[in-house]
Every structure is written in structure tokens, then in C-alpha cells.
């Protein structure tokens, strides 16, 4: 594994922004690094909206939020001295561009781990907000799943 090849899993949250900032500080202008910012799409459930219009509006808003986050994250890394040439962005679509109608749950952690394996990343970075044991039981945790299941890599958990 190439430990200087870093996969940063992000959503549009403050936790992710902290993770990106940390990576920027650690890498700076040191040569030999590659940074990939990865977002796994998870649109809101269709079932929680009364009609298609309000659901599609919410999906569009989510899409816009992550696009804004990506440009801010790139700028943040460059501010820390990271060359724009070593930053790439990956957006994983999981629900057919917002047409998913069922309450199917797609594991974000599963997608992150697949990208880690397929891309030969030696370091995986995630932000964490810290959840209670009860919340972890009820809702699951992307970070916990990555810590438990990632192999042949270093995992940075930024809190």
C-alpha cells in the first residue's frame, strides 16, 4: 500500500471540513503525496417527502451543498500549501441520480472501503462528530465500520 496516497471521505459537514484541514496541515507542500476527496452520494429518502417535487428540491440542494464543499475543500488544501495537481475529486453515485424511491439503505462505509481497495490508497481519512453508543446502535456509524473493516492501510479519524 502507498501510504502517501490519501483518501479523504467527506460529506458537506463541519466534521469533514476539519478532516480536510488536518490533511492539509499534515501534507502541506511535502512531495510524493496524492489526495483524493471522495463523496458517496446519499440522497434523502423519497418516503419522507409528501411529493416528488419537494423530494427533488431536497436532492438538488444536497447536490449543490457537496459541490460547494468540494470547491471550499480544494481551496483549504491549497491554502495549506498543497499543490492543486495532486488533488482529485471523486463523486460516487449510488442511487441513480436521485430516482431511488424505496427505503433501501446503501452503506456509505462499504463504498469508501471499495474505493480504498480498488484505488490502492494507503491512508483513509474520515471526520467524526462523536455519537453515543445508543445512536451507533440505532443509526450505525460510517467511521466505526471503516475502523473495523479497513485492511492494509492507516485510518485517520479526525474529531
Amino acid at each position: 500500500m502507498h501510504f502517501k496516497k490519501i483518501l479523504v471521505a467527506v460529506d458537506a459537514s463541519e466534521n469533514s471540513a476539519r478532516a480536510v484541514e488536518y490533511v492539509g496541515i499534515m501534507v502541506g507542500d511535502t512531495p510524493g503525496f496524492e489526495i483524493t476527496l471522495l463523496h458517496v452520494e446519499r440522497y434523502p429518502e423519497r418516503d419522507i417527502f409528501p411529493d416528488d417535487t419537494s423530494w427533488q428540491d431536497a436532492c438538488r440542494e444536497e447536490g449543490q451543498n457537496i459541490r460547494t464543499f468540494f470547491s471550499q475543500a480544494k481551496a483549504m488544501l491549497e491554502n495549506k500549501g498543497v499543490s492543486p495537481d495532486i488533488i482529485s475529486i471523486e463523486y460516487v453515485k449510488t442511487s441513480g441520480g436521485g430516482t431511488q424511491r424505496g427505503s433501501k439503505g446503501l452503506g456509505v462505509a462499504q463504498h469508501i472501503l471499495k474505493m480504498h481497495r480498488d484505488g490502492g490508497f494507503g491512508t483513509v481519512v474520515v471526520g467524526r462528530r462523536g455519537v453515543s453508543k445508543a445512536e451507533e446502535f440505532l443509526f450505525g456509524s460510517v467511521t466505526t465500520k471503516i475502523i473495523h473493516n479497513a485492511k492494509d492501510c492507516t485510518v485517520w479519524v479526525v474529531e
Binding site: R42, P44, E45, D47, I48, S103, K104, G105, E136, F139
Partner: protein, 313 residues
């Protein structure tokens, strides 16, 4: 009211006065009496749920009679409700989705582990679910009506109840395999049919935001029911103190013995019922504050429960 419809009402329900019937609505947004695609229903009353000793009226759920066949049905009208549900200290945004319930009704057609029904659209395009009545009692009432001390209950009644509960868990696993969640798993959402004794799930309209563990809430609900049927009820700190004062029994309990979600609910039942075998108690402890390992899927829990049932039998 249409004369033909009124004649049908009179023949089926002669005691009803015209003023009680009002109009017939084909658009259920304004509901009282309902006509759907040639079928006529007369509303008898609103349904209600009884929880914690309180009657909770559900004004969008109507007990009714089909004027053509005389059969009783439950009509569920569209009610887009958003509310915060508190599960212990965790708050969850919850939504009532007629689309979800309708989809699940289609998925489980003729599968008698679930309530049965069809969906029709009214003239305003609302999804009206016409549900068959289940003659029976909710599981909590069935358990509470068993007149036996816990030891007798556990040895004489519990294996059969556990077997049927395993069947109910398999039904939920079926939903999960098809990408659906029940959404509101509670002991009063299993209906025990009088005629057959079969367990049947009702009420599929709760929906939640997607999470990393999409089936966590359903699993939590199943764990609660397992605890209820194994303990022949819920055992809270309050009950335990009262019982200890009555019997002078001393039981050493720790926070880890209680529910992960409800810290006053005892999960480590073997401490008060020592004849509950370890292998079964271990399944309960997966839902305790002391656990480090959670069930990820219903199938994982089922594998353990089937072994328990085999050893109990």
C-alpha cells in the same frame, strides 16, 4: 346523499339516521363517507391506539363497512405527518408515508405474516389503503392475559411464543431483503389472530431518514419485543425496587444489565429469573448497555434465536 347509497345504508344499518351519514365524498380530503371507484364505505368510527393507558385517536384511520358486501374494513387516509420521536435519549425525525405502506402492502400480498389490503386512489389522487380486519388481540395483550407466574410461563408457554416470534422476525427479514423497513416495530404492532394464533405485522407507514445502519430501528424494536416476551412483561427499576421490598430478595444489578436505549429497563433477565438459560440471556444482552457487539441484521439474531429454540425444546 345519493338515494341508492342511502337505501344500502338503511338495509345494512337500519339504526343510522340520515343526519348521521351526511354526504358521500369521492375526494377523501374531506372525509366522512367515502366512495372509491364504485365502492361505497360507511364510516363507523375513528380507530385509536391504546398506549401507556392512554387512548390515542387516529382520526385518519376509519373503521368502516363496505356497503356492497357488508364486510368490515379499516380505511387509512392520507395524513402527511412529520414529528419527532424520542427513543430513550435519542430524538428521531419520523414521517408518515402512505406511499411506503402502499408499496409494502403490494410486496406482502397473500403473505399472512402481514396485514393485507389494497390501495385505491380517490378523485384527488390520495392513496387510500383499504385494509382487511384482523380478528384478534395485540401480542402484548396476549402475553399479559396469560395467568401464570413467570417460572410456569417460561416453561409452559414461552417456547411456543418464541417459535412464533421467530416467524415474525423472519417476516421482517423478508422486508429487509427487499429493501424495505417496517419502521414501527412494537409489541402492539404484532396482531395475534384468534382463529389461527398466527402473528401478523400491522402498520407500515413510518419512514425515517436514511442512515448507515438502515435496519437498526427495526432490530431495536425486535429486541424490545424479545425482552417483553421473555420477561412476560417489562421489568423497570421501579418494579424491581417494589418487588425487592415485597420479597426481601437481594439482586445485585449494574447499569450494564439495563437496556442500551432505556436505562431503567432490565435486560439481564437471568439475574431475576435464574432458570433463563445463558444461551438465551446472551441474546438479550446484545441489547444491553454493557454490550460491545450489536446485531447488524435480523438474520444474525435469527441464527441465535433458532439455536435457543432448539435447545429450549
Amino acid at each position: 346523499m345519493d338515494k341508492t347509497v342511502w337505501e344500502k345504508v338503511q338495509s345494512l344499518l337500519p339504526s343510522i339516521a340520515l343526519r348521521d351519514c351526511g354526504m358521500v365524498y369521492a375526494d377523501t380530503t374531506e372525509f366522512m363517507n367515502i366512495a372509491l371507484d364504485g365502492r361505497h364505505f360507511v364510516i363507523i368510527r375513528d380507530e385509536a391506539e391504546r398506549r401507556f393507558g392512554m387512548e390515542d385517536p387516529k382520526f385518519w384511520v376509519k373503521r368502516c363497512r363496505d356497503l356492497e358486501t357488508g364486510e368490515f374494513f379499516i380505511l387509512k387516509l392520507v395524513f402527511h405527518e412529520r414529528f419527532e420521536q424520542n427513543i430513550g435519549s435519542v430524538a428521531i425525525q419520523c414521517y408518515r408515508s402512505p406511499e411506503k405502506e402502499s408499496r409494502i402492502l403490494d410486496l406482502v400480498r397473500d403473505d399472512l405474516r402481514f396485514m393485507q389490503g389494497v390501495t385505491m386512489r380517490d378523485t384527488a389522487d390520495n392513496l387510500v389503503r383499504i385494509l382487511d380486519m384482523i380478528r384478534g388481540k395485540s401480542l402484548d395483550n396476549v402475553i399479559e392475559d396469560i395467568n401464570a407466574d413467570h417460572r410456569t410461563y417460561f416453561h409452559q408457554f414461552y417456547p411456543d411464543i418464541l417459535g412464533k416470534f421467530i416467524g415474525a422476525c423472519e417476516a421482517i427479514a423478508f422486508l429487509h431483503d427487499h429493501g424495505e423497513r417496517h419502521g414501527d416495530i412494537r409489541r402492539d404492532h404484532i396482531w395475534v389472530e384468534h382463529k389461527t394464533g398466527n402473528y401478523r405485522w400491522i402498520d407500515f407507514d413510518y419512514a425515517y431518514e436514511s442512515t448507515e445502519n438502515p435496519f437498526g430501528l427495526d432490530l431495536f424494536g425486535l429486541g424490545n419485543i424479545l425482552l417483553f416476551i421473555t420477561g412476560q412483561g417489562v421489568h423497570t427499576t421501579h418494579d424491581l425496587v417494589a418487588s425487592a421490598l415485597r420479597t426481601d430478595a437481594v439482586v445485585q444489578l449494574e447499569p450494564a444489565d439495563f437496556s442500551l436505549i432505556f436505562p431503567n429497563r432490565l435486560v439481564n433477565l437471568r439475574k431475576i429469573f435464574p432458570y433463563i438459560p445463558e444461551f438465551l440471556n446472551r441474546v438479550l444482552l446484545r441489547f444491553s448497555a454493557g454490550t460491545y457487539v450489536f446485531y447488524d441484521t435480523v438474520e444474525e439474531m435469527l441464527q441465535d434465536l433458532r439455536l435457543c429454540l432448539g435447545r429450549l425444546s
